[in-house]
């Protein structure tokens, strides 16, 4: 499955990724010398390879590089690798081996934390695909800012007026907006995978993804304010 996926994206990776990209030649396990299907962990003896400490989140979790992932599958992969990578199972090993497992385990936890959250997963994927960071491109979709500012004012008024029902209503609206943005991001990633060969389309898609993601983090912040206010009341 990985191979097919790699094939689809190969051109883009070469143009966008500066880091060398892996798995051209199969890696052999340093412990049992068997061929490894991923550079992270040996399929036979479960030894963690040194590559694991520097692998990207998708490689580490042995997941295809795409947005549309099953949360249960991400969780399952996370637990499976944790069973081999966690420092607890290597407490009696040499300091070097312990250090590797500490690093891989930290990287694994970071990978799971990122990939399980749709917005964080999208942002990470966007950076892998060579999209701009939020620091480089702060734009949001047309009309979004105006709508959000109105929501913000409504929320401030509701908090001021101590209007619990209104705060709850605003929180619900924000949640719907947030979910809508995430759905749109899913659609954009689908379009992206279908059009990887056409650079102009890809650039447009990456640009729009950035805008949608900026909007998501904006909506998230406001939603957090609203839920905090909700609980401060209740």
């Amino acid at each position: 499955m990985r191979g097919e996926f790699l094939g689809v994206n190969l051109t883009l990776w070469e143009s966008n990724m500066t880091e060398s990209h892996e798995q051209a030649t199969p890696v052999k396990c340093a412990h049992c010398d068997k061929t490894m299907s991923t550079p992270v962990v040996c399929d036979y003896c479960h030894t963690i390879g040194p590559e694991a400490a520097v692998a990207d989140h998708f490689t580490l979790l042995d997941l295809p590089r795409r947005f549309d992932l099953d949360p249960a599958e991400i969780h399952r992969k996370f637990l499976a690798l944790s069973r081999h990578a966690h420092p607890d199972f290597h407490a009696e090993d040499t300091p070097e081996v312990q250090q590797l497992h500490l690093k891989v385990s930290a990287a694994l936890n970071d990978a799971y934390r990122t990939l399980k959250d749709p917005a964080a997963r999208a942002a990470y994927l966007l950076s892998l695909f060579g999209g701009k960071s939020s620091a480089d491109d702060k734009s949001v979709p047309d009309g979004f800012l105006g709508a959000m500012m109105m929501m913000q004012e409504e929320l401030a008024d509701a908090i001021e007026a101590d209007d619990h029902a209104e705060i709850t209503r605003i929180a619900e609206v924000l949640k719907t907006q947030h979910d809508g943005l995430v759905r749109r991001i899913g659609t954009l990633f689908e379009q992206y995978q279908e059009s990887v060969s056409c650079k102009a389309v890809v650039d447009d898609l990456l640009g729009e993804l950035r805008q949608q993601l900026n909007a998501v983090s904006y909506a998230k912040k406001l939603l957090l304010q609203a839920t905090n206010a909700e609980h401060a009341h209740g």
Partner: protein, 610 residues
């Protein structure tokens, strides 16, 4: 037991105990009488240092030399402790680096050293049930989940001072979940409600296929059963004062007695509807008070409500509702209080699980984790989280968060720093823990100084600092200058802890004490103690000498003279005996003084059933 034995230790505020992993499962370490709990109380007396029930028995008569609740002092500063200081009968003084020390008869001891005394005692008890000659050198020690970095470090340092390599610091609620879920195959969401003597934690876990994954944790390291006791102490104190005079002062012995009373009342009210306190006052006056459970519950209510608020927050952080929780596991002696059980039940909408002894479940879990680390238990894994966000102070005193709370540990974050001045070769970084936005409101973990940066124009160096929270939740820092590739060195000044050198010297000291002629050490203690007694007798003769008959006076003078001679010599037992004789001869004086004292204060004696 095997060589790779790692002891699981629950180092509690009120009680401590240990467990070991055996092929059939974790087992609690018990003495010949089957008792497992060792009261976390240390008494410094003429006969030496005692720990446990024996030490606790002397708490009322020797309040300033009996130390308990040391856990509340771990990794804390004097300012942190303002709320609890006034109820501690022993003398707490400021220590180095914004820590505290306990002054025991002129000997200043850090909480780490005091905890080490308890740990050493636990270790010795465990060794007693091992094969002859087997030494225990490694341990897993539990801490409240909400302990910050300073408190965790302090606990690990205490282990080191006690001669134990601390393989892992485990969170208490997580340990409890491990013990609870060990033999349960089904996947489930568990809430662990852990109300101990001095701390409260709630953790939400998901258990699937032997992996125990902590989703969120919340708590308060200064909220526990002690607070319920304090409510009762305050009630009694107020009423005694209103009945016998507002100016009434309470010396340490009385404070200790009231504390014992309050605790006993709380325990009694868990099974009875009411309890009566009877306090004998000087001059034949007696203070009697019946406290009903309702009355106690109205005093305790606000504290229990706090714990429920934490439960709500923990659920929110885990993105779950009460209906998602399959089981609520109750941990800690304070969960025996009926109000605690009923409020927890109401909140989670289910009967909490209380079948396992709530005092022992944490130690059992520590033993399971010890088994995992020793490689004898491979089918279970614990994935814990950090309870507090980690950040650094940025310009203007704000906090830039690097690691968010409830992140699974181990956890790493990196941040790049530069210089402000041409040729600058060092950068100061202030690391903080907590959820607040301003540095001054968070817990300072320490100032880190990066040195060895190659001299370059301002802003040119790029120093990447990596912060690693290991599986113990303890922070490690490393740094690298990216342009030169040179490792910058990191010097850490702990905000509320001991430096490596200080720990080393304490380890050395405790080692020295272990191998030195014990008599010599005991002799020093005995000489100090006898000096104290001689001074007290002198003073007593001055104020109450007239009560002595000639015969009594002669006997006392002889005993004092004998003690003065013996304490110049090197025979411990002789000094100890002479001290006993002097004490005995001074009894009429002490009694006379006691009458004086009792007329102005209270002295706890007994508590009757209703």
């Amino acid at each position: 037991m095997a060589d790779n034995l790692i002891l699981g230790i629950d180092l509690g505020t009120t009680n401590s105990l240990a467990a070991v992993m055996t092929p059939t499962g974790p087992e609690i370490v018990r003495d010949a009488d089957g008792a497992s709990l060792v009261p976390s109380v240390i008494a410094f007396g003429a006969g030496g240092v005692t720990v446990g029930a024996e030490a606790r028995a002397h708490a009322v008569e020797n309040p300033t030399a009996t130390v308990y609740s040391v856990k509340r002092l771990m990794g804390k500063s004097v300012d942190d402790l303002a709320r609890v200081m006034d109820v501690l009968p022993y003398d707490v003084t400021p220590g180095k680096h914004d820590t505290v020390c306990v002054n025991v008869q002129g000997r200043h001891m850090s909480p780490q050293e005091l905890s080490a005394i308890i740990l050493r005692d636990i270790k010795t008890r465990a060794e007693a049930i091992c094969q002859p000659g087997q030494k225990i050198t490694r341990a897993v020690i539990t801490v409240p989940a909400y302990f910050d970095d300073s408190q965790r470090q302090a606990t690990r340092d205490a282990g080191r001072i006690a001669g134990l390599e601390v393989c892992r610091i485990v969170n208490e609620p997580t340990a409890a979940a491990l013990a609870y879920g060990l033999d349960r195959a089904e996947d489930a969401c568990i809430a662990v409600y852990d109300l101990g003597g001095g701390t409260f934690d709630v953790s939400i876990l998901r258990v699937s296929g032997g992996v125990f994954e902590v989703l969120s944790t919340q708590g308060d390291t200064q909220l526990g059963g002690d607070d319920l006791d304090r409510e009762l102490i305050n009630l009694l104190t107020e009423e005694i004062r209103s009945q016998f005079g507002a100016e009434l002062q309470f010396p340490p012995a009385t404070r200790q007695a009231l504390r014992t009373f309050a605790e006993a009342t709380k325990v009694r009210l868990s099974t009875e509807e009411s309890a009566t306190v009877e306090v004998a006052l000087g001059g034949g006056r007696v203070f009697t008070r019946t406290i009903t459970r309702d009355e106690f519950e109205s005093l305790a209510s606000k504290w229990v409500d706090h714990t429920i608020e934490h439960c709500a927050r923990a659920l929110r952080d885990a993105d779950l509702g009460p209906q998602d929780i399959d089981q609520v596991v109750m941990v800690g002696g304070s969960t025996r209080v009926p109000l605690v059980r009923s409020k927890t039940k109401d909140f989670f909408q289910r009967e909490p699980y209380t079948a396992v002894n709530p005092d022992e479940i944490v130690a059992l879990g520590a033993a399971v984790q010890a088994g995992i680390l020793a490689g004898i238990k491979r089918d279970t894994l614990l994935l814990d989280v950090t309870p507090l966000s980690l950040g650094i102070e940025t310009l203007g005193g704000a906090v830039g968060k690097l690691i968010m709370r409830n992140s699974t540990i181990p956890c790493q974050a990196a941040e790049t720093f530069s210089t402000y001045v041409d040729g600058q070769t060092s950068v100061d970084i202030h690391v903080l823990q907590g959820e607040r936005e301003l540095a001054k409101d968070c817990r300072s973990l320490g100032k880190f100084q990066l040195t060895g940066i190659p001299p370059m124009p301002a802003g040119a160096p790029r120093v990447q600092v990596s912060f690693m929270l290991d599986a113990n939740g303890i922070l490690g820092v490393s740094a690298k200058e990216l342009r030169s590739g040179k490792a910058a060195s990191v010097q850490i000044t702990p905000a509320h802890g001991l430096t490596h050198d200080e720990i080393d010297s304490m380890v050395q000291e405790s080692y020295a004490h272990a191998i030195e002629d014990l008599n010599a050490h005991r002799l020093i203690d005995l000489r100090n103690e006898s000096e104290r007694i001689l001074v007290a007798i002198d003073k007593a003769i001055e104020t109450s000498g007239h009560v002595l008959s000639d015969q009594q006076r002669q006997a006392l003078d002889a005993a004092v003279a004998d003690l003065k001679t013996k304490r110049q010599q090197d025979d411990c037992d002789a000094v100890y005996e002479a001290m006993g004789a002097a004490n005995e001869a001074a009894t009429p004086l002490t009694e006379a003084q006691m009458d004086d004292v009792l007329s102005q204060t209270v002295k706890g004696r007994k508590m009757d059933d209703v």
